[in-house]
Symmetry: C2
Subunit: 347 residues, 2 copies
DNA sequence: ACGAATAACTGATACGAATAACCATTTGGC
DNA sequence: GCCAAATGGTTATTCGTATCAGTTATTCGT
């Protein structure tokens, strides 16, 4: 026998009937911010009936009446499925829930038609706003329909500078990483970047600028012999780290612009029988949780503040998020592990 | 000047007015499954008005009328934030969207109060069903409220055997992994598991049973000297692989019950100057995308069918998902890379 | 040429909750 | 003792859509 499955639960009318009052009374008792006046006895009866019937307010009726729902749209090109950016959703969700809101999520995988259709669907649910999240930090084109509600671009920037954006402060991150190495006493600090600067990838450009700034500030000239441009994978990390470490004047420290590159550098050091951090200190970037803590020694790296960014984006939406084109840059904290120490004394 | 922000778009009445017809006509023209009859001219006028006004149906009004929404709830203990299980959401979302549905997601991080409250909220949105996803494969206790709608337990199993569940076929996976090694000619096949069998972790128990089955089937006795129980991290992989490989009668192949353990085994092999797969073949489990393809050589491993499981769970919900307690086990495909070859000829 | 059938559309209503406007008792002030 | 104010509710309406039950106007069969 198929279990009976009451599709629609009790309504306020049912509660009203059970409590012997009118539907309006139920509504007022349930919502009144202590404003309206009912006898304690009536309140009690209503609440009892609610409990007993297992009444749950119908969010759609409420939304229909009020015009705006308790839902925020989360539209990403691949966020939920990208290994280390799921944290973005976590942050957004947390913040939304603090105001009792839920997230209606959709990953488009970059498919513009799907993006448009699902955004449409979200809008038909009268979402309170939309978070438009990029899988990695870049400048992107945003669907126009987003302007119908408060929207925020997350982990990317609106190319047209219309919507407000929340992105990591890559430059400060690069600066912090480099500064950390300089403060440990290093002067021969190399950098292996994850893209050429022409790519205009904010991560590559920003992290490099931060590196340059820290070096310059410390009075250390940036030598092109100490800078390499890879593509962000461990092969390039291996290749360029090997190149750097076997050169005539090897660096005592390498800032790798992402963790995978740093992993390659670890492999290069192992191959050359150099110890980390004894012979060479390494700093990564991303704090990829399946990698950085598991390397030996643990990789000191910069964390992308995904949770915080997610929170902040929803925050802005809840504040009304006017389309002022402002970009908010968030600090990447340094996660210290064991891949950095002071350089060896020169013999 | 603040941009004007029309909070509620045009309604059917607006469209009706613009097209010079009644609201009922608009509704019928827009929805009619070719059932009702209107002149082509009227249809045209309605569609034009829809286009021009940018009309979008109000999903809440529709839901209120119809009693069920185009939303499916996705409740997970940590899925969206777990590195390699985000794929689950991807699959669920894909399948849902094929029927025009969206996912209302919530990660509870295991917090029962939060779980209950957010489930409540989902139910108040009259979701068409709920996917209750576990972060890793286990038996778990399911909130009772789930029985109010079609619900499916995903990547885990309902301990009470009420709700239908979708989970990976761990045993078949372990069998496939071991069989793969045996077919390559190995007879000395070790296994490093990720938990003791007492833990009742389906992954540990199932994979071990699969290993045993394949060995037995091939007429190879399972020697306890070839089996180790770690905790699934690379340290244990390193320790036990070292132990196995330096023993009197070392295995020519190791089945590691997850990729991180395999990573540890790689490190052990490197330390012992053994080549993979030349001296020892390795098979992992999980196909962790940030790890398995990046190891050198690429790790042959079993993939957890997250996308497929996500799809299947939504599928079941769309079919009505009666609470029959059935568990559907899904096949873990073998992903071949370069960590397996035939064993060296004995000199 | 007349009733029936058909085509093309409209009016009214219900879904469930929120709320403005109203009504009926008490209580209070003087 | 009478009007005003406070107390404790209720009625009616609205949100936007779907749909049942009509209502015209036209066409058809005989």
């Amino acid at each position: 026998m198929a279990r009976s499955r009451p599709r629609s639960g009790p309504t306020m009318h049912d509660v009203a009937a059970a409590a012997g009052v009118s539907q309006a009374t139920v509504s007022l008792v349930l919502n009144s911010a202590s404003g309206s006046r009912f006898s304690d006895e009536t309140r009690q009866r209503v609440n009892d009936a609610v409990q007993q019937l297992g009444y749950r307010t119908n969010a759609h009726a409420k939304t229909l009446r009020e015009g705006i729902s308790g839902i925020i749209g989360f539209l990403g090109d691949a966020v939920a499925t990208t290994p280390f950016a799921g944290k973005i959703i976590e942050g957004a969700q947390e913040r939304a829930w603090e105001d009792g809101l839920l997230l209606l999520t959709m990953n488009t995988g970059g498919d513009k038609a799907l993006e448009s259709a699902s955004l449409d669907s979200m809008l038909s649910y009268k979402v309170a706003g939309v978070v438009y999240a990029g899988m990695y930090h870049r400048r992107l084109d945003v669907p126009e329909a987003l302007e119908a509600v408060p929207s925020v671009v997350l982990n990317s920037q609106d190319r047209k500078l219309r919507l407000p954006s929340v992105a990591p402060d890559e430059e400060l991150g690069g600066y912090t990483a480099t500064r950390h190495l300089i403060e440990a006493g290093h002067t021969q600090v190399a950098m292996i970047n994850i893209e050429t600067l022409e790519s205009e990838l904010p991560a590559a450009v920003g992290r490099f600028n931060g590196y340059t700034k820290a070096m310059t500030e410390a009075g250390i000239p940036v030598s092109s012999g100490l800078v390499r441009f890879g593509t962000g994978n461990e092969d390039d990390g291996f290749t360029y780290a090997t190149e750097l470490l076997t050169s005539g004047n090897p660096p005592t420290a390498i800032f790798c612009a992402n963790d995978r590159t740093a992993w390659g550098a670890y492999q290069a050091a192992a191959e050359l029988h150099l110890s980390i951090p004894g012979d060479v200190s390494i700093v990564g970037f991303d704090n990829q949780e399946t990698l950085a803590p598991h390397l030996r020694p643990g990789l000191t790296t910069l964390e992308l503040p995904f949770v915080e960014m997610g929170r902040r984006a929803v925050d802005l939406i809840l504040q009304g998020a006017e389309p002022d084109g402002r970009v908010e840059f968030m600090t990447c904290p340094l996660i210290e592990r064991n891949s950095v120490t002071h350089p060896k004394e020169k013999p």
